[in-house]
C-alpha cells in the first residue's frame, strides 16, 4: 500500500518555445541583434583603419538595400531589447526605499526608459549637429 516510487516527468527540450517562456526567449534573442549591430560598427572601425578604399567600400555597403533592410530589422530588435531590458531592470536591483516606502518597479522602468530615450535623442541631435 505504501509503496513509494516518485515519478519525474521529463522537461520538454523546447520549453523555451512555449508560452509563457516565449517572451523571455525573444528578449534574450534580441540581445543577439545588439551584438550584430556592434559587429557592424566594429567592421566600420576596422575598414577606417585599413584605409580610404576600404572605408568607401564600407560606406557603399551601408547604403545598399540589403544593409538598409538589415538595419531596419536590427533597429526593431534593439528597440524591443531596450524596452524589455528596462522591464527586467527592477528585478536585478535592491528594493528602492524612499520615505519608508518601496518605489514601485513600474516607476523604475518608466524613469530608466525615459532616461535612455533622452540620452539616445541627445546623442542623435549631437551627431546631426556635428555632421551639419
Amino acid at each position: 500500500m505504501s509503496e513509494r516510487r516518485p515519478y519525474r516527468r521529463p522537461m520538454p527540450p523546447n520549453w523555451w518555445a512555449h508560452a509563457p517562456y516565449r517572451a523571455y526567449t525573444a528578449r534574450e534573442l534580441s540581445g543577439v541583434a545588439v551584438a550584430i549591430y556592434g559587429a557592424v560598427l566594429f567592421a566600420g572601425l576596422i575598414s577606417l583603419w585599413r584605409g580610404p578604399d576600404s572605408y568607401d567600400a564600407y560606406l557603399r555597403f551601408l547604403r545598399s538595400p540589403v544593409s538598409l533592410l538589415l538595419h531596419a530589422l536590427l533597429l526593431a530588435a534593439v528597440l524591443y531589447h531596450v524596452v524589455t531590458w528596462f522591464q527586467t531592470l527592477p528585478k536585478t536591483m535592491p528594493k528602492l526605499i524612499l520615505d519608508g516606502k518601496q518605489v514601485p518597479p513600474q516607476k523604475i522602468t518608466q524613469i530608466a526608459t525615459l532616461a535612455a530615450g533622452a540620452c539616445s535623442l541627445a546623442l542623435l541631435l549631437f551627431t546631426l549637429w556635428v555632421a551639419r
Partner: protein
Amino acid sequence: MPEAAIAEKTVELRILRYRPASDDRPSFGSFEVPYAEDMSVLQALQTVKDTLDGTLSFRWSCRMAVCGSCGMMINGKPRLACNTFLRNLPPGPITIEPLNNFPIERDLVVTVGDFVKKIESIYPYIIPKEPKTIADGPYLQTPAQLAAYESFSDCINCMLCYAACPQFGENPDFIGPGAMALLQRYNGDSRDGGRQKRLDTIHGEDGVWSCTAVGICSEVCPKHVDPANAVNQNKTNSAFDFFLRFLRKEGAR
C-alpha cells in the same frame, strides 16, 4: 431559476493520476462534477474525492491562500487550487496536473523534501547582529528598514515559483526562487548579521547562478513576493562577495 436547472450544469476535470503501486506512468482521468458559480478548483477536487473517487490524492489545508498546500498546474499554469475559481477559467474541460518540475508521489501530490532541505540550508532565522539581553530592550526598526524585506516575508512556501522556473526544471539542485526569497527576507533585515553565512551557500551553479532572469516565478506568485528580485539582486551580492573576498577580515563570518 428552478433548482434542477442549476444542478444540471457540470464541469469536466481532466486530472493527471499516478498510483505508484499500479501505474507505470501518470495518465489522465476524467471526472464530471456539478458546477457552481462560487466553486474553487479545490472544492471541485473535494467533490470528486467525496462523491466519485475516494482514492484521488491532493494536498490542501486552509482553503484561503495562506497555507500554500494546494499548488498545482491548472490548465498548464501553476496556481493555488483554493483561489482559482471555475467561473474565471475558460469554458470546457479543466486540466489539473501536479506541480511541474517536481517528482510525483501520487496523483497531485509531489515530493517536497528537497525544497525543505533548501530552505533549511540558508539559515532561515535571524542571526542577531549584536546579541541583546531582555533588559537591553527590543531590536528597533524603522518603517523603511521594514519595507526593505517585508514583501519577502510574505512567502507561503507553495512552490508555484519552482513549477514556473525552467532552470529549476533543468537543474533540480538549483536553490530556486522560493528559498532565495527567504534568504533575502533575512539578509535584508536590519537586525540580522548572518549575511556572510548565507551568501556562502548560494555561490555557484546550484546557487543563484542557474537563474537566467526568466521572471515567470514572480508572475505566478500568489503573494506578490517577487522571488525573481530576490534571486537577481543576490547575483550582484554573490559577484561582489567573490571579488571582495580577499578584503574581508578573517573570522568576520
